[in-house]
């Protein structure tokens, strides 16, 4: 009987310890998520008056000089001195500290990945294209819009010069990303999508930077905006959750195929050279005319449209455009832009 009592007591202790730690964690997480860069008082402060760049832990945390930790106490205490002495577990501590106690050193991982994003990033593609421009080029193939970028050919040969180009920030993906097609309006839906005999590969896609390394290699110091001019690249915006899912109209497009890899990025992404803000672009877009006026795909558009029209005229099963699209897009009504280009 006594043994059972001890067992029960032990169990209760374990459960309550777990519950306490869980409560502490969720409470702490709540505290962490209450911090807003967009509050009226915080908006008045320079980013660099709180965030040090680089932080002392950069070497172990990142491997390159970076903002790799929360600001120190002195950046909070000027305005929030009283909050530091409020209660046994001051709420302000839980913004950074995962364990709120006088000796609690542990902090949440910086930056907090699962928090909603408060900033959008500004990257003027046009300026970067201009500054990296060269006078004239000797090679005939495989170059992209910054200078002499290519996806493959030059980089395969170590002896050849490595030019700075789009691939610095947008290398070919090595892991297949999550992907989907753009959602279409249901009113344009023409036929039930059929099964696709198609498998996307990692090399169909390009990566994009998700840290400071690719910016700091030029902008760490000297070249403005430097590492402490956070607001030059990061602008406050309404909180959002970042999606890692790549959306495409033409999922079948393979960046790495021979006849695509030997082109410039800007041969198709024509608007990239025109803009200082990607948000002004539609889907970082490739206008249809870059394919429809090319010698490679000029006829495909008309062929597909012809097959669709014939299937409708013959009252057969409606043809789903599948040269570029999967059925999730190819089963929809042909947009005016395509009809216009096929003329």
């Amino acid at each position: 009987m006594n043994k059972n009592r001890v067992k029960i007591l032990f169990l209760v202790l374990v459960v309550s310890a777990c519950a306490t730690s869980f409560w502490n964690k969720t409470s702490a997480q709540k505290g962490r998520d209450t911090y807003l860069h967009s509050s009226a008082s915080h908006k008045k402060i320079n980013c660099s008056s709180c965030h040090k760049s680089p932080t002392s832990n950069w070497s172990s945390a990142r491997g390159y000089p970076d903002v790799a930790d929360y600001p120190d106490h002195d950046s909070c205490i000027n305005c929030h001195r009283n909050d530091f002495f409020r209660g046994n577990r001051p709420a302000i501590c839980s913004i950074c500290h995962s364990n709120v106690s006088p000796r609690g050193q542990a902090r949440f991982v910086f930056p907090v990945k699962n928090r909603s994003q408060e900033f959008k990033t500004i990257f003027p593609h046009d300026v970067h294209q201009n500054i990296i421009a060269s006078n004239e080029k000797k090679y005939d193939v495989a170059v992209a819009h910054f200078v002499k970028a290519n996806f493959r050919t030059m980089f395969d040969d170590d002896k050849k010069t490595q030019f700075n180009n789009c691939a610095i920030c947008h290398p070919t993906a090595t892991v297949l990303p999550q992907f989907t097609t753009f959602k279409q309006s249901k009113t344009e839906f023409l036929v039930e999508p059929s099964a696709d005999n198609f498998t996307a590969k990692a090399e169909f896609f390009k990566d994009m930077p998700d840290n400071h390394a690719s910016c700091f290699n030029c902008h760490y110091q000297g070249q403005k905006p430097v590492r402490t001019d956070c607001a030059s690249c990061h602008r406050l915006t309404s909180p959002y959750f970042e999606s890692k899912t790549v959306q495409r109209y033409s999922l079948k497009f393979d960046h790495a195929s021979e006849n695509h890899a030997n082109k410039d990025c800007t041969t198709c992404h024509v608007r990239i050279t025109q803009t200082s803000d990607l948000r002004s672009l539609l889907n970082a877009d490739v206008p249809l005319l870059t394919c429809s006026t090319s010698s490679c795909h000029g006829d495909e558009l008309s062929d597909e449209i012809g097959k669709r029209e014939k299937s409708i005229a013959d009252k057969e099963k409606i043809f789903q455009c599948n040269y570029c699209h999967t059925s999730a897009i190819g089963s929809f009504k042909i947009p005016a832009s395509h009809l216009e280009q096929s003329k």
């Binding site: 390159y64 080029k137 495989a142 200078v147 700091f216 030029c218 800007t266």
Partner: protein, 267 residues
């Protein structure tokens, strides 16, 4: 009062029924392809990765800009870096791959060993990031280079562009790519008003590189007018005047590049 509103209602409905139709009228949009494949003295040249600007109006409407372009002061790349007291090795490194700035390509170990400015910047990086972080000192070398050498030429060009554009604002700009050597302008909003009951079929635009382009020992500025119509891809092929013969619909300014003393570079 009620009678008045009951009479007015059909009129209001009739007016509103037209609004969607008006809104549905698509805005006339044009597109233009500028080819940068040129011939100079019979030799084919490619104007790759060059920015071109699109302006409303033709040569006549933009005559003030054209005057400014004609008298624009040109500083060649070599002259600029000579003025900045760059070492001959630095200038040769740029010339080797026809780069305008050190951002153009990777600065490798050989370059660090041979170009004094790179060596100094690399040593500075080692002191800053730690001797064990030589990779960062190398790949971030440009952050320890003096600003006139890293971005001075770009800023000079930018300032010239801003002074040229003080009197006019381009509608769009686009760069030629390196493979097809074409600059594509798309979704160009067209003003096609009706005159005498007939709708204008096309609008006149001016295409110019504005900033002089260096090819060989000369600089080139093109200002060419072209017609762009709704829904069609207009094409413009740049040409270089031969002798006294003018290029049709274009003003092309060809000038000798100022000569600056630079050492011969070993290949």
């Amino acid at each position: 009062m009620l009678k008045f509103y009951s009479k007015l209602l059909p009129v209001v409905l009739l007016v509103f029924s037209f609004i969607p139709n008006i809104a549905q009228e698509p805005l006339p949009l044009g597109s233009l392809e500028v080819s940068g494949r040129i011939k100079i003295n019979g030799k084919a040249e490619k104007l790759q990765r060059k920015r071109f600007y699109l302006l409303r109006g033709g040569l006549e409407e933009n005559k003030n800009l054209i005057k400014k372009l004609e008298s624009a002061e040109i500083t060649s790349r070599d002259c600029f870096y000579s003025q900045m007291q760059a070492s001959p090795q630095f200038i040769c490194w740029l010339k080797e791959e026809n780069c305008e700035s050190p951002y153009c390509r990777e600065i490798d170990k050989t370059a660090i060993e041979s170009v004094p400015e790179f060596q100094t910047a690399f040593q500075k990086g080692l002191r800053q990031f730690g001797k064990s972080r030589s990779t960062i000192a190398q790949s971030w070398l440009i952050t320890n280079l003096s600003p006139p050498l890293s971005s001075g030429f770009y800023l000079r060009q930018k300032s010239l562009l801003e002074s040229l554009l003080s009197i006019v604002k381009p509608l769009q700009s686009s760069m030629t790519d390196s493979v097809s050597v074409k600059a594509i302008f798309i979704d160009i909003p067209l003003n096609l008003p009706e005159t005498d009951g007939k709708k204008k079929k096309s609008e006149t635009f001016l295409v110019s590189n504005l900033l002089p382009l260096e090819v060989g020992d000369k600089s080139y500025i093109w200002t060419c007018e072209t017609e762009i119509s709704n829904g069609k891809l207009a094409k413009l092929v740049l040409q270089v005047p031969e002798g006294d013969k003018k290029v049709k619909n274009c003003e092309v300014f060809v000038k000798d590049l100022p000569v600056c003393k630079t050492e011969n570079c070993k290949k």
